[in-house]
């Protein structure tokens, strides 16, 4: 009796604390959130275009079956629950009740089947590659969708987020030319915000979806995505309070540090766990002397990754020695060959190759293509050039614009190029496409543009990507990391930090691994 009383009292106290905490954090409805979208997207119809700014805006209008937590665990979105059969071949999704499109039509399993069998494979290579692994996608009833696979593919869950698996309305798109459908101008989704107005060069306005399937959400009345083409202008917009959030990349990293010191402003590098960006130098393994692994190892030793992270990227990010980052699943740093900053060792490796310096100290001459994504990348290129000159490699810097960079990188017309890619929550997504020998040129910038060719790696990746056993996958991917870090197909420098700046009055801004591409159904503004 006494025990029970104590227990009740403790329980009551705990509940009181919990309730009190919850009350203090109860979302306040209403308000408008001002953001920046940079650069201005070509469209906000996320189905047909998967660029960063399109995902950012379109992620509020459209939804995927699931979203991914900060730990990359799948969380419900349009699917309220799912089962994966023990053999890893059958994925069954149960859809939410009472979901309607922004035009009032009901959302059903037919929309999901249409999206994955017809729409997405036609417009997005990543989703097509995943759907090619299915033998059937069916809807046994209006609220259930079943994906049947030919062989296990545990990374499948990573294509069901809002970008890889945008669910589009069948009643609008079936039988039309998706890219040219006039409805793309007035996108219809299931998300918490509806498209209202797009004043080109000024802003995109979304408003609250009153009939959103999560009752009581979204908390905000409207979202404005302002378009400010100049980096200094974006800084000022944040400083003056015109906008309350800056995405990673909106302003240069060194500006983030300064703006982060303003009162009531916070910085976070959360919200990129799914994208998991890693920066490296693409080196063309087809060209001499890069084809010699000793040369590539010399490059690894020639660059001070700590300087790159701390000085050039203003302390955002972490140096890496191999193809995985600390957030990539199956990351195993123990197997990696280490390449500490050591110009002497780099020179020794070049000497060993027989690349002796000539009268003016030059051992080899290479072309270097900076990434045309702003000043930070230009400084980075200048730094690398200076480091390479230091070990006797003369570098010709070739300034290119973005289309030029894409064109030359994807056709193999380069010696060294800067790049960063997303690893997308599973090695089978981001790692395989970067190192497998069958995915080389004319397949986008996140491919094996370097021409790295190792049948052993191809075989291991093929096995690991299609194994249903996590322990087996861990072992295989560890072997892959060991070989890759020994072969140095690219010069890895760091896992990138994309800091988000926001005013602390904006609550629940980043809650999942999709970060700012999330729906914002839970975001609210604390107004005194």
């Amino acid at each position: 009796m006494w025990m029970k009383a104590v227990r009740t009292a403790v329980l009551a106290a705990v509940m009181g604390l919990v309730a009190g905490g919850a009350l203090a954090q109860a979302p306040k409805p209403g308000g408008t959130l001002n953001l920046i979208v940079q650069p201005e997207p070509p469209t906000v119809m996320l189905g047909i275009n998967k660029l960063g700014p399109v995902s950012f805006v379109g992620g509020k209008i459209y939804e995927g079956l699931i979203t991914l937590g900060l730990d990359l665990k799948p969380l419900p979105s349009l699917a309220k629950s799912w089962e994966i059969s023990p053999d890893g071949l059958t994925y069954t999704f149960h859809l939410q009740e009472g979901v309607t499109w922004h035009d009032g039509k009901p959302f059903t399993a037919d929309d999901v089947v249409f999206s994955f069998t017809e729409f997405l494979p036609k417009v997005f290579a990543r989703t097509k590659a995943a759907m090619d692994r299915t033998s059937s996608i069916t809807a046994p009833d209006a609220k259930t969708v079943v994906f049947q696979l030919k062989q296990p593919f545990p990374a499948l869950m990573m294509v069901f987020d809002v970008t890889g698996g945008t669910i589009v309305p069948k009643h609008i798109y079936a039988g039309t030319d998706y890219q040219k459908n006039p409805a793309n101008q007035t996108p219809i989704g299931t998300g918490p915000f509806k498209f209202k107005e797009w004043r080109k060069g000024a802003f995109i306005q979304l408003v609250k979806n009153e009939n959103y399937w999560q009752k009581g959400k979204p908390h905000l009345d409207a979202l404005y995505f302002h378009i400010v083409p100049d980096a200094n202008g974006r800084s000022i917009a944040f400083e003056t309070g015109k906008v309350d959030v800056l995405r990673g990349g909106d302003v240069e990293n060194f500006e983030v540090r300064r703006l982060g010191e303003l009162p009531n402003v916070a910085i976070t590098d959360k919200g990129w766990e799914f994208y998991d960006p890693i920066a490296f130098l693409n080196v063309n393994n087809r060209n001499k002397p890069i084809d010699d692994v000793r040369f590539r190892r010399a490059l690894m030793h020639a660059i001070d990754k700590n300087f790159v992270v701390n000085t050039i990227f203003a302390g955002f990010g972490k140096p890496v020695d191999g193809p995985f980052t600390t957030v990539t699943p199956f990351n195993d740093p123990a197997v990696l060959t280490r390449y500490p900053y050591d110009p002497k060792k780099a020179r020794a490796l070049l000497d060993e190759m027989g690349l002796k310096p000539d009268a003016s100290g030059v051992r080899a001459e290479l072309r270097l293509m900076p990434l045309p994504y702003g000043e930070t990348w230009q400084r980075y290129a200048e730094y690398v050039r200076e480091r390479l000159v230091d070990i006797g490699i003369k570098v010709k810097m070739e300034a290119v614009d973005v289309p030029g960079w894409v064109q030359r990188l994807t056709t193999g017309d380069f010696d060294i190029s800067f790049n960063f890619v997303y690893l997308l929550g599973d090695p089978a997504m981001g790692i395989t496409q970067t190192y497998v020998s069958t995915n080389q040129l004319n397949r986008g910038t996140a491919a094996n543009v370097d021409g790295y060719n190792n049948p052993e790696v191809d075989k291991l990746l093929g096995q690991a990507d299609t194994s249903a056993d996590p322990a087996e996958r861990k072992r295989l991917y560890a072997e892959v990391q060991k070989i890759l870090s020994n072969d140095v197909p690219v010069i890895w420098t760091h896992q990138m930090g994309f800091p988000t700046l926001y005013r602390t009055k904006v609550k629940n801004l980043i809650t999942t691994g999709l970060g700012l591409n999330e729906t914002f159904a839970d975001v609210w503004i604390d107004r005194k």
Partner: protein, 279 residues
């Protein structure tokens, strides 16, 4: 000649410009002695403010010496300014002389050709040319020369048109001199003074043009130039004003000095015009 020199020396503004330019040339020539090695090298801690020990103008985001960049940048700016202006003057003079001397359809043809270049915004054309031929010292000089010659051609043509009808030219024609000889030995020497003045002012605009190209990232990435330094420092102006301020001051002073010198030269070469101008 001595008379011209005397008049130039008496012109305080022109002398000031000349003195500054001479100093700049000396500085540019002495750059490898003052700051040996590549100015791209990282020599200090990043972001040192001006007047830091060893770095009078501070260092940039990677720890490169701003003073070394400004001094080495002077070489490139002066080199590009002089060579491209010289090219433009040669092209413009040749075309203008031929048009002005022969007149009729040759004149029409060359002037329409000149107008073709004049109707295209020169900076846009320069950007396009540099982008097509990929940025290098050579392509930048070429682009600046191509967009700068039309005013020279028009000027020389006008001079030739007026000089063409003078008695000494007629005498030379009657005397049986070849057109080429008349152009170069009779008329051109008499048209020299406006050409020189235009040319000296053109150096200033060439330096500005090169700086603007470098600012946009279309400079030769092998060399540090003032425009590049401003362009690179621009985004950091809130953190490190000195990165763009010092090369900016260098461009400002150089262009000012060139204009002052050009004006002084003009006054010295055309004393009557100068006096009229002042009256």
């Amino acid at each position: 000649m001595t008379e011209i020199a005397t008049r130039l020396v008496r012109n305080a503004v022109g002398v000031a410009g000349l003195v500054f330019l001479l100093l700049l040339v000396v500085l540019a020539l002495a750059a490898p002695l003052l700051y040996p090695g590549d100015p791209w090298r990282m020599v200090g801690s990043p972001q040192l403010p001006p007047l830091s020990p060893g770095f009078p103008l501070g260092t940039d985001a990677l720890g490169r010496d701003v003073a070394a960049g400004v001094v080495h940048g002077a070489r490139i700016s002066l080199l590009i300014g002089l060579v491209s202006s010289l090219c433009a003057v040669v092209i413009g003079t040749c075309l203008g002389a031929v048009a002005g001397y022969f007149g009729r359809w040759i004149d029409d043809l060359i002037m329409r050709f000149t107008e073709f270049f004049q109707t295209i915004p020169s900076f846009m054309l320069a950007i396009v040319l540099v982008a097509i031929f990929s940025p290098s010292i050579g392509s930048i000089v070429f682009a600046i020369a191509i967009v700068s010659w039309p005013p020279v051609a028009r000027l020389v043509r006008a001079e030739f048109l007026s000089l063409r009808s003078r008695d000494f030219v007629k005498a030379a024609v009657v005397g049986g001199q070849s057109p080429l000889r008349i152009i170069f030995r009779q008329i051109l020497p008499n048209a020299f003074s406006p050409i020189i003045v235009t040319g000296s002012l053109m150096v200033a605009s060439a330096i500005l043009l090169e700086s603007a190209l470098s600012f946009l990232g279309l400079g030769d990435r092998e060399f540090v130039t003032w425009g590049f330094m401003i362009g690179a420092g621009r985004t950091m102006i809130r953190q490190a004003w000195w990165l763009s301020a010092f090369p900016g001051i260098a461009i400002f002073l150089t262009v000012l000095a060139l204009n002052m010198f050009g004006q002084g030269l003009n006054d010295a070469l055309n004393p009557r015009l100068a006096r009229k101008g002042r009256a």
